[in-house]
């Protein structure tokens, strides 16, 4: 790991002014060597330390967001929740209001990584972590996402890569929590280096390679995510997140699904179905949602919806096995949400 300066900012504005780069911009280079003059934000530090130990990131300064008080609260707001960016995945998974009202998010947080990582990893960092593509994580492969010329995944080992929306790059979005948060229509509150604030829907904030091949999101240098807001949902909403790993322990998902259904008098008034580990951003299964909305869900309909969730899928040479897994997961998730 390179040596760096350690900065303790006195608040959000100070931290935002001090940050000169995002981790994505600090990693883009023609030469394959990361920038050595970047001052970047640090939360739990899990993804940063991983990238730095691999020599993929060499920042000049880390700005410690954990020293800013007040960013680690979970508060009810207008029928929904306002979650501070430095809330840990362990806190999220155990929080009563999250479990009671937004179960899919608690499930997703609790299914991410290991207990030891969940006590350190923050929600903000989880949403903004870099992808896990093994070529991206290898210093020996200067791929297109890091400023090189090629994507190695299309002709190479792509069994854990995307089945949707892989134009030029086939990562799957690494955040398990993002899958659930997109299903709830979460909104990010962001403060920039000049103090200007903006709100962005998480779904629009996370980008596909066709829009930007080198950044998974729309965060600009000096911008800080100051809260993750979940809007109010009817009390009749039931949600669930299901993860399928290759092994039962702390492995990354090969497929995951978040479902939020507003069910009243046997009718599904509104359906949100989002697939994770499927595309470079959480993938909204719009055809499945349309199939469920306004209908009474029976076994035949949920089977139709599960097939519809895969509309538009284009598997790569080694990941067609994901299709039946996603279909089964969507079926199980809808059933589980109805029974919840």
């Amino acid at each position: 790991m390179n040596r760096f300066e350690w900065m303790t900012p006195d608040g959000i504005a100070h931290a935002a002014r001090a940050a000169t780069a995002t981790v994505a911009t600090a990693m883009i280079s023609r030469s394959g060597l990361p920038a050595t003059d970047a001052a970047v934000l640090k939360a739990g530090g899990i993804d940063l330390l991983d990238l730095m130990k691999e020599g993929l990131l060499s920042p000049h300064r880390l700005i410690n967001l954990l020293s800013i008080p007040g960013l680690d609260r979970i508060e009810p707001q207008e029928g929904g929740l306002r979650i501070g960016p430095t809330v840990t995945l362990a806190q999220l998974a155990a929080h009563e209001a999250v479990r009671a009202r937004f179960r899919a998010l608690a499930d997703a947080a609790g299914a991410s990584a290991s207990p030891q990582i969940r006590h350190l990893a923050t929600l903000g960092g989880n949403l903004l972590q870099r992808p896990r593509c093994w070529y991206f994580r290898s210093r020996a492969h200067h791929c297109a996402r890091k400023g090189g010329d090629t994507c190695f995944a299309f002709a190479g080992e792509n069994q854990y890569h995307a089945i949707f929306d892989h134009r030029g790059c086939a990562i799957v979005h690494p955040s398990t929590c993002a899958t659930a948060l997109v299903a709830f229509g979460a909104v990010l509150e962001i403060t920039g280096p000049t103090g200007a604030r903006r709100a962005a829907s998480l779904e629009a904030f996370l980008r596909l390679p066709e829009t930007d091949l080198q950044r998974e999101n729309d965060l600009l240098p000096g911008e800080i995510v100051t809260a993750i807001r979940i809007p109010a949902h009817p009390l009749t909403t039931r949600s669930i997140h299901l993860k399928q790993g290759e092994i039962d322990s702390f492995d990354w998902p090969i497929a995951e699904v978040a479902v939020a259904l507003d069910l009243a008098d046997g009718i599904c008034r509104r359906a949100s179905v989002v697939l994770g580990a499927a595309a470079p951003a959480p993938h909204r299964a719009a055809q499945a949602e349309a199939a469920l909305s306004g209908r009474a869900i029976d076994e035949a309909l949920l089977r139709t919806a599960a097939r519809a969730a895969l509309e538009g899928a284009a598997p790569l040479s080694r990941n067609a096995y994901k299709l039946p897994i996603f279909e089964a997961l969507v079926r199980r998730a809808i059933r589980a949400a109805i029974e919840a």
Binding site: E5, P9, G45, I46, S114, D248, S249
Partner: protein
């Protein structure tokens, strides 16, 4: 008794704001196994490195150094974390407990005795981390189900494959804990 990190407490406000230290060595204080220890580290030092190389607490093992095996598990304010993915300078006033702190000059921790009784150790490299996770589990959940034990051990890799013995040891330690007067 273990403290849980309260969800709304400010963490690590251990240095005056505006402070920039490094890239060279800087003084810090770590509270390890109940004792405040002053040391001088560069900001790039992990907690695992500080414990092993500066404080000679080599019970904490480093295998993957990437958060992916949990061999380096210690407690921060009672919560199990991987010491290889925490910077020492980021620990602040949170209390660090290592394997050396479980049974200081006293009787073994019930989990340690149960590991011996159940032959839950082979080469032993993963063992200190496993014991820290198991002891943290029993402190928060004295009567765990087998699936709770498996979930608590989910981050640990043991290349010797001691898992079934470890699970039996934890369940036994929990039974003994319950039958104690």
């Amino acid at each position: 008794m273990l403290k849980k990190i309260p969800p709304d407490s400010p963490r690590c406000a251990h240095r005056p704001a505006h402070d920039i230290v490094g890239p060279g060595a800087a003084p810090i204080t770590l509270v390890v196994n109940g004792i405040a220890r002053a040391l001088s580290i560069v900001p790039a030092t992990t907690l695992a490195e500080a414990l092993r190389e500066q404080l000679a607490l080599t019970g904490t093992k480093v295998a993957c150094d990437r958060g992916a095996c949990s061999a380096c598990t210690v407690w921060l304010d009672g919560a199990p974390v991987c010491a290889c993915m925490v910077l020492a300078i980021d620990v602040g006033d949170r209390e660090v407990t290592t394997i050396e702190g479980l049974a200081q000059n006293g009787p073994l921790h019930p989990v340690q005795s149960a590991f011996i009784a159940h032959d839950a150790i082979q080469c032993g490299f993963c063992t200190p981390g496993l014991i820290m996770s198991c002891a943290a589990l029993l402190a928060h959940t004295p009567d765990p189900s087998e699936s709770q034990v498996r979930a608590a051990l989910g981050g640990h890799l043991c290349r010797c494959g001691t898992y079934p013995h470890v699970i039996a040891a934890v369940l036994d330690a929990s039974r003994r804990g319950r039958s104690r007067p």
